[in-house]
């Protein structure tokens, strides 16, 4: 049995590689939204989340209000609250409040999935090992993407603006293919978002996204409530 910190680092390695490629796309989008490299890097270091950061950058670029920023982050990242509750039931007694305050920073979809799949109680050093490696991948990818956006020709970086969205498509299409209910929710969300964009342009981008997402999810929850079984595999 390896030391928990080292084991955490090993488990964090594949996560870090995946994060690097996603945050590379984030770095590109951040630069194209007019941010500085240091700002993009600080956002990645302090937020450690993809959709929330992409939304945040869009709001900064559009000159949105702080209320809009807070509301979108709350809705987009609400799933972490559920993951945090779930993980909190698995913590070892050595996970005291100071450790919880620190480790809470690193609750992401992937880290949650790996940590939740462990068949032993979670100790702080294991979480720190995994979170530190994953965060290095996330911040490093952001830096690489930001710098690439400055060095590469515009014809190439313009095309790279689609990378982050390509990732999002790769995340939503497989569950939509496997499950018609999920497909329905995804189509409603996309349709509402288009309606806001083209018919209700007065609604700012952040609110348009969260209203679209909440309405689609509530319709989904009313029409197709999930089974208790499925909840275990929910992301």
């Amino acid at each position: 049995m390896k030391k928990p910190f080292k084991r955490g680092m090993l488990h964090g390695l594949p996560i870090a590689l995946g994060y690097f490629s996603v945050s590379f796309g984030f770095g590109i989008v951040a630069m194209q939204s007019g941010l500085k490299v240091i700002e993009a890097v600080i956002i990645s270091l302090t937020n450690l989340t993809s959709a929330g950061q992409a939304m945040g950058v869009a709001i900064i670029a559009a000159g949105g209000t702080l209320l809009e920023m807070a509301a979108t982050q709350l809705v987009i990242n609400l799933r972490y609250a559920l993951m945090a509750i779930s993980l909190s039931q698995k913590l070892d007694d050595s996970f005291t409040t100071p450790h919880r305050l620190l480790a809470a920073y690193g609750i992401t979809d992937e880290i949650f999935a790996v940590a939740a799949a462990q068949d032993c109680k979670l100790v702080p050093s294991y979480m720190y090992g995994m979170i530190s490696v994953a965060a290095v991948g996330w911040v490093g990818g952001t830096l690489a993407g930001s710098v690439a956006n400055m060095l590469l020709p515009v014809s190439l970086t313009a095309a790279m603006g689609i990378m982050l969205y390509g990732m999002f498509i790769a995340i939503i299409i497989p569950p939509a293919k496997a499950n018609r209910k999920m497909l329905c929710v995804i189509l409603i969300a996309a349709a509402l978002s288009c309606i806001f964009k083209y018919l209700l342009p007065a609604v700012s981008v952040g609110f348009a996204i969260i209203i679209s997402a909440i309405v689609a999810s509530v319709i989904g929850a009313l029409l197709f409530p999930i089974d208790e079984e499925k909840e275990e595999t929910a992301k």
């Binding site: 996603v22 941010l35 600080i42 956002i43 302090t46 937020n47 989340t49 959709a51 929330g52 992409a54 945040g56 709001i59 702080l66 920023m69 982050q73 709350l74 990242n77 609400l78 799933r79 609250a81 559920l82 945090a84 509750i85 909190s88 480790a103 809470a104 920073y105 014809s155 190439l156 313009a158 095309a159 603006g161 689609i162 990378m163 982050l164 969205y165 390509g166 990732m167 999002f168 498509i169 790769a170 939503i172 939509a176 999920m182 929710v185 995804i186 189509l187 969300a189 996309a190 978002s193 348009a208 996204i209 997402a213 909440i214 689609a216 999810s217 929850a221 409530p225 929910a234 992301k235």
Partner: protein, 99 residues
């Protein structure tokens, strides 16, 4: 407005969402409705963020549309994230060469 204040609000809210339940919450969520909403929300958010914004992500709707079609097709066959993403970028770039 200062970007630092934006980042502070963004990071603060995101941290509190993770920290408060992780440190304070000791019960399980029982409501099936609320669990269902939480199950659907990440995908609904990504979908609303992607459409229609993806069509404006390359500065040219034609190259972006080609990239989108390639991404959806490859994602349909469950190719890894990075493959889907890079292929969409390459498709948009190559299309741009012909316009």
């Amino acid at each position: 407005m200062s970007i630092a204040i934006y980042i502070l609000v963004m990071a603060g809210v995101t941290y509190l969402i993770r920290m408060l339940p992780f440190t304070l919450f000791r019960k399980k969520i029982k409501s099936r409705f609320f669990k269902s909403v939480l199950h659907y929300i990440p995908y609904a958010v990504l979908s609303a963020m992607t459409f229609p914004s993806i069509f404006y992500s390359t500065g040219n709707t034609v190259t972006a549309a080609v990239g989108t079609v390639v991404a959806v097709a490859l994602a349909y066959f469950k190719l890894p994230l990075i493959v889907v993403s890079v292929a969409a970028c390459v498709a948009a770039f190559v299309t741009g060469l012909f316009i």
